[in-house]
Amino acid sequence: MKILVVDDSSTMRRIIINTLSRIGYTNVVEAEHGKAGLEKLAQGGVEMIITDWNMPEMDGLEFVGAVRGSDGSIPILMVTTNAAKEDIVSALQAGVNNYVVKPFTPETLKEKIESLLG
C-alpha cells in the first residue's frame, strides 16, 4: 500500500509518516503542496492520499479537485486545522472521503485510514 502525504509543514509530514510507520504503512511518498502532490501521483502506484488543506502553490481543496478530475476512487483523507462545519462540508463536497482535524492522536489517524481502506 503506497500512501501519498501532502503537507507544507515538514514537521507534520514527519509526524504523519511516523504514525503510518507505527501502524504498518511504510511505503510512503511525500509532497509539500498540491502541485508537487499531483506530480508524485502521476508517477503512479499511489493507493491512498492524506492531504493538508492550507498550503502554498496549490491548496488541499484545489488538489482534491484536480485528483477527482481524473480519479474518482482513490481514498482521500484530509488532515487540517480547518475545523469549521462549512469547511468540512466543502472538503467532502470536493471529494474528500474523511476528515481529521489537527492536532490529532495516532489512534484517530489509524481509525480513519482503516475505515477508508475497508
Binding site: 503537507d7 509543514s9 515538514s10 514537521t11 507534520m12 514527519r14 509526524i15 511516523n18 504514525t19 507505527r22 488543506w53 492550507n54 498550503m55 502554498p56 502553490e57 491548496d59 488541499g60 487540517t80 486545522t81 480547518n82 475545523a83 469549521a84 462545519k85 469547511d87 468540512i88 462540508v89 467532502l92 474523511n98 476528515y99 481529521v100 482535524v101 489537527k102 492536532p103 490529532f104 492522536t105 495516532p106 484517530t108
Partner: protein, 219 residues
C-alpha cells in the same frame, strides 16, 4: 504601531532600530527668511514623497519600514521553529532507534540458557516493559510536535494581517510602496481558535462527516 514607527513611515525617518535612513524625497522645512518680513510665514509641513526611482529600490526602502521588518522577523521565527522542531524529532528518532537496539539485545539475552534464573528473568522482563513505556513516551512527544504547525499557521495569519495593514497605510499615504508580495499562502479561517489538545475537534468533525454521508446516501 507606536509614534516612532508612524514617523518612520511618514517621513522615512529613523523608527525603532531603523537607523538614520530617510526618504530622499522628504525635504526639511525651509528656514524663515532672516529679513524683517511683515508676518512670519509658517513653515510648510514636510510631505512624504516617494524617493526618485534611481535613488533606492522599493524593496530596500520598504525593508527599512518597521512593519515590513516585523513581518520578516515573524517569517524567520516560523522557519527557525520548524527547523528546530525537526532537530528535536531527529533526537527522538535516535532515542527510538537506541531503544529498538536495546530490546533486540535483551530479547537475545532472554533466550540464553545461562540466565534462566527467575530473578534475572523478572528483571529482564521489567527492562523490556520500561523500554516499551519509554518508546510510547517518545511517540507521544513526537505527536505533540503538531503544535509547531499550528503555531506556524497562527503566525502566518498574523503576518498576513500585518501585511494588509502595512499596504493599506502606505496606500493611504500615497507612497507608492508595496510590501514584498508573499508567496501564495492559504490561511485557515479557524486557526485562531485551534488549540493544541489532540483530538479536541474529533467529535465535531466526525458528526459533520457522518451527517454529510447520511444525507448523500439518502439523496
Amino acid at each position: 504601531m507606536d509614534q516612532s514607527e508612524i514617523d518612520a513611515i511618514m517621513g522615512g525617518g529613523s523608527g525603532k532600530g531603523s537607523g538614520s535612513k530617510k526618504h530622499k524625497g522628504a525635504q526639511p522645512a525651509p528656514k524663515p527668511p532672516e529679513t524683517t518680513a511683515p508676518a512670519p510665514v509658517p513653515a510648510p509641513t514636510p510631505v512624504a514623497t516617494p524617493p526618485p526611482a534611481s535613488a533606492k529600490k522599493d524593496s530596500e526602502v520598504s525593508s527599512s519600514i518597521p512593519s515590513v521588518r516585523v513581518i520578516g522577523e515573524l517569517g524567520a521565527v516560523t522557519a527557525v521553529t520548524e527547523r528546530e522542531t525537526n532537530k528535536v524529532m531527529d533526537k527522538l528518532d535516535q532515542i527510538s532507534q537506541l531503544l529498538d537496539q536495546q530490546r533486540i539485545l535483551v530479547t537475545e539475552m532472554m533466550g540464553n540458557e545461562s540466565i534462566q534464573n527467575p530473578t534475572i528473568q523478572s528483571s529482564v522482563h521489567q527492562i523490556m516493559t520500561a523500554c516499551t513505556e519509554i518508546q510510547n513516551k517518545v511517540y507521544e512527544a513526537m505527536d505533540l510536535m503538531q503544535f509547531q504547525d499550528i503555531s506556524r499557521q497562527k503566525l502566518e495569519r498574523i503576518m498576513h494581517h500585518l501585511r494588509q495593514i502595512h499596504d493599506y497605510i502606505l496606500d493611504l499615504l500615497g507612497t507608492g510602496f508595496q510590501s514584498q508580495p508573499a508567496a501564495k499562502i492559504s490561511l485557515s479561517n479557524s486557526i485562531a481558535s485551534t488549540g493544541t489538545s489532540p483530538d479536541e475537534n474529533k467529535t465535531h468533525a466526525d458528526s459533520v462527516v457522518d451527517e454529510f454521508l447520511r444525507a448523500n446516501k439518502k439523496g
